[in-house]
Symmetry: C2
Subunit: 323 residues, 2 copies
């Protein structure tokens, strides 16, 4: 049985969406149990409506919310009674819980993870995004936006975190690590990438395949794509923006051309595939236990998908241990 | 009459493609004339086949080619008899030519532009890409990959170059300048972006609209999108990779579902819209005259589109003059 903590606050769509997502996850995974953190009245009300399996759900009352206006450095000390920080505290303290989900403020979630779950090596955690590659596999993009200014040492650490994650989640023995650059040749890249390239090429624990360009980054050419958080944010958002724009074009086209019905069916299929919001969220790596940031606009599907990620991650070691 | 120099060498598709593109441009724009540089035999042979308008075409024999293996710093001194460097030399020396197109080695083209056409202020030229925005307008992405490691001063210079370009090409009086970042708030960004943000906000000659995120970068929210060449390369290539991947999905879907014919028609329309290769190429800004880099794989359309860019650019001032 894998137990996860679910922060019901902080979602743009309200606590009920997160709770309904938890219900869907519990129905899908019979070895899952959940501890819901938030306003007890609200949680119980929704739980009754959707008939949550009572034997696999617990509730922890923490009515205060973290908002998007909260400053991370301040909130982690002043709002310790919030659902997010109560959740992180429980996750850190208790052996029976494997991970946590939250759709709340990213900065506070990261800072809270550092405060409650930092590993002994005190390396700053990274945020990973698991993106569906063109060949049906997944690519672990790390860092996906947590650390904006990086050193080559950080990027090498991300390569290790990503390698460990893909090994555990997808049983890939030797995950292929690519370094995001502006050209495939080893001499291409900004200063950070060039220095990192040399280090990764020398690292015996990394299956380094070299530089990877943005147009093939999500083609399945590598299992782990390493970059700084600024570049990772661009990969995510440009992918999302391009896909959203093409979807709008397709829908517009369907309204004005023959075969509109067939094209609408196509659009629905593509939207399922390219809706990054439904894929789950960012996994905070490098902490003692996995913490997953759901996007604020996440729907119920995202809760199910991220719950599955934590089930997978909890099968193996939960952190990358530096030797 | 606007005369442009066209380097017929360096294309992945051979000189004939470039020459046929020149022919299409001459037929489309009656106020255009061209000087083709390359192997005289090859140029004349293709010219006869496609019946180039003899009164608006000249030929300059320069049979040596720059290859993708040429080192820029070496080639610009040792291969001055190549079609690319002969073209740049003519462009620099003669008052009757307004700009140049080349599909050859980007590094040599940039280095050659610096050697032959650098402005008095000796600022390194930038590479701009004109991308179709969702609302039908164009966004000038600068730098699109010429300068990988940048300073805040360089990014501010790019903002001026982009502003000037959009003003001249599309008669936009006060082009809106956005700064690519990982969040819309002024506090978001890496060190480079944060420092640049302060400078752009203080610049009275820039209509600065603030940070722009990757998912809205090409929505038409700004006329000029400023970033370092590493990030610019990601924006271009991730857009291209995502679009190409969705196109493949659509074509696959068309083969296995009802309404295949309607969907194939949709795919053809979308491919025309999202084929970045046909849009033309990178404009080298900051030089005394515009030089446009066509992608190596460019087809005839790209020659036509880039010829039009030079016609537009030559209508106004050709460089941004620092006051």
């Amino acid at each position: 049985m894998v137990k996860i903590i679910i922060d019901t606050q902080g979602s743009d769509r309200g606590a009920a969406t997160i709770i309904r997502g938890a219900g869907a996850a519990l129905r899908k995974f019979s070895d899952l149990s959940a501890e819901l953190v938030g306003d007890i009245e609200e949680m119980k009300k929704t739980a009754e409506e959707i008939d949550l399996p009572a034997d696999r759900v617990e509730f922890l009352h923490a009515p205060t919310s973290i908002t998007n206006f909260d400053d991370p450095a301040e909130a982690i000390f002043k709002k310790t009674d919030s659902s997010m920080l109560r959740g992180l505290g429980e996750l850190s303290r208790r052996d029976d819980v494997s991970g946590m989900l939250s759709a709340g403020n990213t900065g506070v979630l990261l800072a809270g993870t550092v405060r409650y779950l930092l590993c002994a090596d005190r390396t700053r955690p990274a945020m990973a995004a698991l993106l569906p590659a063109a060949d049906g596999s997944f690519t672990c993009l790390v860092d996906a936006g947590a650390t904006i200014d990086c050193t080559p040492q950080m990027l090498c650490h991300f390569a290790h975190l990503g390698t460990d994650t893909m090994r555990r989640m997808y049983s890939i023995e030797s995950p292929r690590v690519g370094l995001l650059s502006n050209g495939a040749e080893p001499t291409k890249g900004n200063k950070l990438v060039k220095e990192t390239h040399v280090k990764l090429a020398e690292d015996p624990d990394i299956n380094f395949i070299g530089n990877v360009e943005g147009n093939t980054a999500l083609s399945g050419v590598c299992d782990v794509l390493v970059c700084d958080g600024f570049a990772g944010n661009q990969v995510l958002k440009v992918t999302e923006g391009t896909a959203a724009r093409i979807m709008r074009d397709i829908i517009k086209y369907a309204h004005t051309h023959n075969g509109g019905e067939a094209i609408s069916a196509l659009a629905a299929e593509l939207m399922g595939r390219y809706d990054i919001a439904s894929l789950g969220g960012g996994i905070i790596l490098g902490a003692a236990k996995p913490v997953i940031k759901l996007r604020g606009s996440s729907g119920e599907d995202a809760v199910v998908n991220t719950a599955e990620m934590i089930i997978n991650l909890s099968r193996g070691r939960t952190v990358y241990d530096k030797e």
